[in-house]
Assembly symmetry: C3
Homo-oligomer: 108 residues x 3
Amino acid sequence: MKLITAIVNDHDGQMVLEALNKEGFAVTKLATTGSFLKVGNMTLIIGTEDDLVQKAIDTIKSQCRRRKQVVITPAYLETAGGYATRPTEVDVGGATVFVQDIERFERI
Amino acid sequence: MKLITAIVNDHDGQMVLEALNKEGFAVTKLATTGSFLKVGNMTLIIGTEDDLVQKAIDTIKSQCRRRKQVVITPAYLETAGGYATRPTEVDVGGATVFVQDIERFERI
Amino acid sequence: MKLITAIVNDHDGQMVLEALNKEGFAVTKLATTGSFLKVGNMTLIIGTEDDLVQKAIDTIKSQCRRRKQVVITPAYLETAGGYATRPTEVDVGGATVFVQDIERFERI
Ligand code: NI
Ligand code: NI
Ligand code: NI
C-alpha cells in the first residue's frame, strides 16, 4: 500500500476530489490554510494499492495542470495621470504530490 | 518509531482520542472534512514506539468497531397513500488505520 | 526527498512558518486542534531534499525552544480566607518533529 498526499489549490481541489472518487479512490480531505502556493490550498490523502499510484497521479494531473489565466489588474497610466485596468497573465493551478510507503493498512 | 494515522468518524473520534490518551499515547487531531465514509471524519496522528503499535490499534478498535445501528426512516405506504416511519439498520463506525515508518523523531 | 512533520503550538507556529519560508522551504499548514501539548497546536508539513533536513529542523528549533514563562495564577490564601494572584512558572513552546521518507515527489 502507498499513501499519496496531494496539495492542491482550493479552486481545483473539489474537482480533483470528485475525479478521484469517480475512479474509485477513497480520499480524505485535510483542511489546510497553507502558504504553499500563496493561495488557499487543500491537502488530500489517498491510501491505495501500489499498482494504482500512477492512475491516481494521472487523475490529479488531469484536474489541476498548471496554466495561465488572464486577470484584470490596475495599471498606472502616466500620460493620463490615473489608473486603468489591463489584462495580465498569471500562473494558476498546479499541485505538489508525494508518495510514501504504508507498512500496515487496516480497515476496522 | 512509527506514525499511525487513523481516520475515524466524528462520532467515535472524541472517544478514540480519550482512550488513546488514557493509554499514554500522544495524539494530534487534524481537522478533516473528508468524504471518506460519506460522513464527517477526523484524522488522528500518533507517533509511537514500534512495540506499542498493536496496543494503539487495539485501543482504536475498541472505540470504533463497525456496527449496526437502528435509525428511523420514512417509508411510503402504498396501502395508506402516505408516509410512515420504520426502523432501518445502517452501518456506523469503522476506521481506516495505516502505519508508516518514522526515520527520525525529535522532541524539541 | 523527506517529509518533515512539525507539531508546534499556535503561539510559535506563525514564526516557525515564516522562518522556514525565509530559508526557502515550502511549508503547508494543516489546521489542527490537537490535544498534544494541552494547548492549540498547528501541524506543518515540509517536503525537502535529504541534505536540507537538518537545516529545516534547526530553523524550527530556533523559533520554538521549550522555555519557562511566568503566568499569573490565582492562589487560595487560607490566612486571608480568599484568593490572591501569584506568579507561577510554566513550560511553553517546544515542538514534536518527525522525518519520513518520500518515495516519489512530483510538482505538477
Ligand atoms: Ni476551475
Ligand atoms: Ni457513540
Ligand atoms: Ni512569542
